[in-house]
C-alpha cells in the first residue's frame, strides 16, 4: 500500500488530490514562498483527521493543516514534501444562544459565522481584512486580529475551547464552556501556534452582542504627527474606540482610485474611528473624538450619517490591499507592532528605508494598538527588485524591534519571520518555546520548520528530568 491508496480508501478518490496542478495550487498560501504539497486531503470529520494523522505518521510524511490559505507569512505551506490537510469541508456551526457561544468547524469562513449569528443579535468579533475568505481555523492558528481587536482583543480572547487531533492521532478537548478551566491553559497556547501543535477540528467560540448603536468618524490631517496625537489624545481622554484605523496619503489615493470611499486625497493621514454602545454613550464618545481631532488641527471631520456611508468608509479601509494591486503588479505586506507612542518615529524611519531602496511604500494600520502594515508595491520583473524588497523588509523589522516593538501583531511568524525570532528572543526564550512544541509534537510532524528558527531546542540548557518522573 501507499499513503495515497490508504487515504483514498479512507476518504474516497475525490477527497485526495495528487495531480501536479492541484498540488501546485495547494503548495502556496497568500505569502511569497512556495512549498511542496505531495498530497492534498479533504477530511470531513474529526475521526477522518485522526486517521489521516496516523496514516501520515506511518508513512513518515509531515502534515500541514490549512484553511483558506489567506495567511501572508507562509504558515500553511509544506517546507518539506508533505501532506496538506485542507479543513474547509469541516464547516459545521452549532450556536448556543443562551451562552452566546458556538461550536464551529475550522473551515467556517469568518464572515459567514457573523452573518449567521447577526439575526440573533451577535457577531464573531475578530475581523481580519480577509474575513470574507479566511477560515476560523486559520484565525485560531494565527491568533488573528483585525481593526476591531483594539477594544475586543485578538482571536485568543474569543476561543473558549478547542477540539484537537494530537500527533498520536488522539482527540483532545482543551478548555471548556465554564470560566477558568482546570490546569494549564493549553487552549491559550494552541491558539496562535500556527498548526505546529495539532490539528484543530472544532472550536467553541464566544459571540459578541451586536452594539445597540455605532458612530463612525472620518477625520483627516495635513500632518501624520497630528493624526498620531489624535489617537493618543482620544485614549488619554478615557475612550477606547472599537477601532482606530489610519492610512497615509499614498494609500488613501490608491483606495480612492479603486473604490471611491470618500477619503480626502490631499491629507497626509486619514483616521477612521468607530465607537459602539448605547446611543447616549456613542454620541458622547464621538463628541470627545471630534474635540480631540479639532485640537489637533483636523482638516476633515465627518460622522457617517447612516449605515450606507459607514459601510462605504469600511469598504475603503478593507479594500486597501486590493487597491494596491492596481498600483503595481506585486506587493509585499508587512505586519509589525510598536508601542503606540513610537508610531510617528517609526513611520518616519520606515519611509526612509523605502526611499533608500527605491521602493514605493504605502501605509495602512491599526493605529490604536500600534500595529503597522507597511506595504511595498513593486514589479518583481524588475531586476534586483525582490532582493531590495527583502532587504528593506528586514531593516523595517529591525527598526520596529529597536523602538520596543515586536515581529508580528496578527499575521504570525510562519516561515517568513522565523529567523527574525532571534531579534526578540534569546537562546533560553526560544528553547522554552521549543520545549512547549516538543511536549505536544516531539517528532515535529505538524508543520515542521515554522515559527521557531532551526536549532531552537538547546539541550545544554537546564537540568535533565529526574529519573522515574511520570513520563
Amino acid at each position: 500500500m501507499t499513503l495515497t491508496a490508504e487515504l483514498r480508501d479512507l476518504l474516497g478518490h475525490d477527497r485526495v488530490l495528487t495531480e501536479p496542478l492541484e498540488r501546485w495550487v495547494y503548495g502556496i498560501d497568500s505569502g511569497v514562498v512556495r512549498g511542496d504539497a505531495q498530497l492534498v486531503a479533504f477530511p470531513e470529520t474529526t475521526a477522518e483527521v485522526a486517521s489521516i494523522v496516523r496514516l501520515a505518521r506511518h508513512y513518515r510524511m509531515p502534515i500541514v493543516a490549512r484553511g483558506a490559505g489567506t495567511g501572508l507569512a507562509g504558515g500553511a505551506i509544506p517546507t518539506q514534501p508533505g501532506l496538506v490537510v485542507v479543513l474547509t469541508k469541516m464547516n459545521s456551526v452549532e450556536i448556543d444562544l443562551e451562552n452566546a457561544t458556538a461550536w464551529v468547524g475550522p473551515g467556517v469562513i469568518n464572515l459567514d459565522l457573523s452573518k449567521q449569528t447577526d439575526p440573533l443579535g451577535y457577531h464573531f468579533a475578530p475581523d481580519p481584512s480577509s474575513q470574507s475568505a479566511c477560515t476560523i481555523g486559520g484565525n485560531i492558528a494565527n491568533n488573528s486580529g483585525g481593526p476591531h481587536c483594539l477594544a475586543e482583543g485578538s482571536t485568543v480572547g474569543h476561543v473558549l475551547a478547542l477540539e484537537m487531533v494530537t500527533a498520536d492521532g488522539d482527540v483532545l478537548v482543551l478548555g471548556g464552556p465554564a470560566p477558568d478551566p482546570l490546569g494549564l491553559d493549553l487552549r491559550g497556547v494552541v491558539v496562535g501556534s500556527e498548526g505546529t501543535l495539532g490539528i484543530i477540528t472544532k472550536a467553541l467560540v464566544r459571540l459578541t452582542p451586536n452594539p445597540p448603536d455605532v458612530r463612525t468618524l472620518l477625520t483627516a490631517f495635513s500632518r501624520v504627527e497630528d493624526a498620531a496625537a489624535t489617537v493618543s489624545g482620544i485614549i488619554a481622554r478615557g475612550v477606547v474606540p472599537a477601532a482606530l484605523e489610519m492610512m497615509d496619503q499614498r494609500m488613501t489615493e490608491a483606495v480612492e482610485r479603486f473604490v471611491s470611499a470618500g477619503f480626502p486625497t490631499d491629507a497626509a493621514a486619514v483616521l477612521l474611528a468607530e465607537v459602539v454602545g448605547l446611543s447616549a454613550a456613542v454620541d458622547a464618545e464621538a463628541a470627545i473624538i471630534e474635540e480631540v481631532a479639532r485640537e489637533n488641527n483636523a482638516t476633515t471631520l465627518r460622522v457617517a450619517a447612516d449605515e450606507a456611508e459607514r459601510a462605504k468608509l469600511w469598504l475603503g479601509r478593507k479594500s486597501a490591499f486590493g487597491a494596491v494591486a492596481q498600483a503595481a503588479p506585486d506587493y509585499y505586506l508587512h505586519d509589525t507592532v510598536v508601542p503606540r507612542t513610537k508610531l510617528v518615529e517609526t513611520m518616519t524611519r520606515v519611509y526612509e528605508i523605502a526611499d533608500r531602496h527605491g521602493i514605493m511604500m504605502l501605509n495602512v494600520f491599526h493605529a490604536g494598538d500600534g500595529n503597522l502594515h507597511p506595504l511595498m508595491a513593486f514589479d518583481s520583473a524588475e531586476e534586483g527588485m525582490l532582493a531590495r524588497v527583502k532587504a528593506a523588509a528586514r531593516e523595517l523589522v529591525e527598526v520596529c524591534v529597536e523602538v520596543g516593538g515586536s515581529l508580528s501583531g496578527e499575521h504570525g511568524i510562519g516561515i517568513e519571520k522565523r529567523e527574525l525570532m532571534k531579534l526578540v528572543f534569546n537562546e533560553a526564550d526560544l528553547d522554552a518555546q521549543a520545549r512547549v512544541r516538543e511536549s505536544f509534537d516531539p517528532d515535529a510532524v505538524f508543520n515542521p520548520d515554522k515559527v521557531l528558527p532551526a536549532g531552537s531546542r538547546c539541550f545544554d540548557l537546564g537540568r535533565p528530568p529526574l529519573e522515574g518522573m511520570w513520563v
Binding site: 478537548v173 494549564l184 493618543s232 448605547l278 447616549a280 537546564g462 528530568p465 529526574l466
Partner: protein
C-alpha cells in the same frame, strides 16, 4: 556536591519565616531575578521542594505542600516600566495589586485586577489565574498579560510575549504561565495591558440581574450576593446615565465592590454562564454566595459538608467545583480540584520540561502534578 544544609545556608535573601506560610527549612526573599535563578538552580540540584509565596491570599488553591524552602516574592517589588500612553505597565511579581492599582488610578488607568485584593501580589494573581469582577467587561486577567519573565524550576530565565498590546510573536508563554500555580517557574515579572479608568462610575441595585445584564450593554460587572444584585456601570457620564436608564433603576455614584466572603471553607463553583441561576439554586441555603453574572462563577462559603453532589452536577455541565480555602483535614479528605482535565499527560510533559526535577509547588495542580 555540598550538603543540603550548607546549600540552604548559602541561598541568597534569607528572611524570617512568613506568618501563615507552612513550616520550612529556609525562607528566602530574593531581591533580584538573578537571585531567583540562583535559588532555583540550587533547589533543583538538591531536590528541595519549594513553595512560592506572594501575598498568601490564594494559597488555598490546589494540593497541599510540605516545602523545604519558601520563596517569597516580597523583594521583587519594583514597578519596572510604566507607559501610560501605551497602556502598559511592567512590574515585578511582588508588587501588591492594591499599590499598583492606586498608582495607576492616579493616572486615570486600571489593570482591571481584583478590586478587593487584600495583600495579594500581581505575581500571585497571575499565577493563580485570578480575575476581578470586571472580567465581565474586560475579560479575564490572562487576556491582559502581555509579557512574562519566568524563572523555571531549574533556574533558567525565560521571557515570553512582549511589551506591546497586540502580539503574535512565538508561542504564548504568558498565557501558559497564567494559572500555572508556580508549576512551570516563578513568575518574576509581568507586563500588563491597561484600560482607562472610566471617568464616571455608578452602581444600580436591581431585582433581576439577568435582565439588567442584557439591558445595560456590557456593564463593568453584575454581582449577586445572597439574593441582592448590583450592576456596576462605568464610562462617560452619558454612558453611565444611559445604562441606568436602560436598566430602569436609579444610579448611585461610585463602586462599592463586595469584599471576600467570610468563612473558613470556601469553594469556587464554575459553570457555563447560562447555568449560573441553576448553580445558585443548587447551593444549599445555609451557604453564603457571590455570583458573577455573565461570567459563570459562584464563590460559596459554608459549613464543611458534603459537596459530592454539587461537584458532580458542576462537572456534568462542563464546569468544576474548586476548593479555595479550608482546614487541612478537608484537603486530606477531598481532591481540591475534582476530576482533572482530559489532557493530563500533556500537562505533565510541559511541566516536566519547565521544572525537570519537579521542585516548584509539586502536587498543587489538578491531577496531583
Amino acid at each position: 556536591m555540598t550538603s543540603v544544609r550548607s546549600a540552604l545556608d548559602g541561598l541568597p535573601g534569607q528572611v524570617a519565616p512568613i506568618a501563615g506560610a507552612p513550616e520550612a527549612d529556609a525562607t528566602v526573599a530574593p531581591a533580584s531575578i538573578e537571585d531567583v535563578e540562583t535559588i532555583l538552580d540550587t533547589a533543583s540540584e538538591h531536590h528541595l521542594r519549594t513553595l512560592v509565596w506572594g501575598g498568601g491570599t490564594h494559597q488555598g488553591y490546589g494540593g497541599r505542600l510540605d516545602p523545604v524552602v519558601v520563596l517569597s516574592t516580597a523583594g521583587l517589588d519594583r514597578i519596572v516600566d510604566f507607559q501610560p500612553e501605551d497602556l502598559t505597565v511592567t512590574v515585578e511579581a511582588g508588587v501588591r495589586v492594591a499599590d499598583l492599582e492606586k498608582h495607576l488610578a492616579e493616572h486615570g488607568l486600571t489593570a482591571a485586577l481584583p478590586e478587593k485584593p487584600g495583600e495579594a501580589t500581581v505575581g500571585g494573581v497571575v499565577a493563580a489565574g485570578i480575575s476581578g469582577w470586571r472580567r465581565a467587561r474586560y475579560g479575564p486577567t490572562r487576556e491582559r498579560l502581555l509579557e512574562v519573565i519566568l524563572v523555571t524550576g531549574d533556574g533558567r530565565r525565560v521571557r515570553g510575549g512582549g511589551r506591546v498590546v497586540k502580539n503574535v510573536t512565538g508561542f504564548d508563554i504568558p498565557r501558559l504561565a497564567t494559572g500555572s500555580f508556580g508549576s512551570l517557574g516563578v513568575i518574576a515579572q509581568v507586563c500588563l495591558k491597561l484600560w482607562p479608568l472610566p471617568s464616571a462610575q455608578g452602581t444600580v441595585t436591581v431585582a433581576d440581574g439577568d435582565r439588567a445584564l442584557a439591558a445595560a450593554y456590557r456593564p463593568q460587572a453584575v454581582v449577586e450576593c445572597d439574593g441582592s444584585t448590583k450592576v456596576f456601570l462605568g464610562g462617560t457620564p452619558e454612558e453611565v446615565e444611559g445604562q441606568a436608564a436602560a436598566i430602569g433603576s436609579p444610579v448611585t455614584e461610585g463602586w462599592d465592590w463586595p469584599g471576600e466572603l467570610d468563612g473558613d471553607v470556601r469553594w469556587s463553583l464554575r459553570v457555563p454562564p447560562s447555568k449560573l441561576r441553576t448553580a445558585i439554586n443548587e447551593v444549599r441555603a445555609d451557604y453564603a454566595y457571590q455570583a458573577a453574572l455573565g461570567v459563570g462563577e459562584v464563590v460559596i462559603s459554608g459549613p464543611d459538608g458534603d459537596v459530592d453532589a454539587l461537584r458532580k452536577w458542576a462537572e456534568s455541565v462542563g464546569g468544576a467545583l474548586v476548593l479555595i480555602a479550608g482546614p487541612p483535614e478537608l484537603y486530606a479528605r477531598i481532591d481540591p480540584w475534582g476530576t482533572p482535565p482530559a489532557a493530563l499527560s500533556l500537562q505533565k510533559r510541559i511541566v516536566q520540561r519547565f521544572d525537570p526535577v519537579r521542585i516548584l509547588n509539586p502536587g498543587r495542580l489538578p491531577g496531583g502534578i
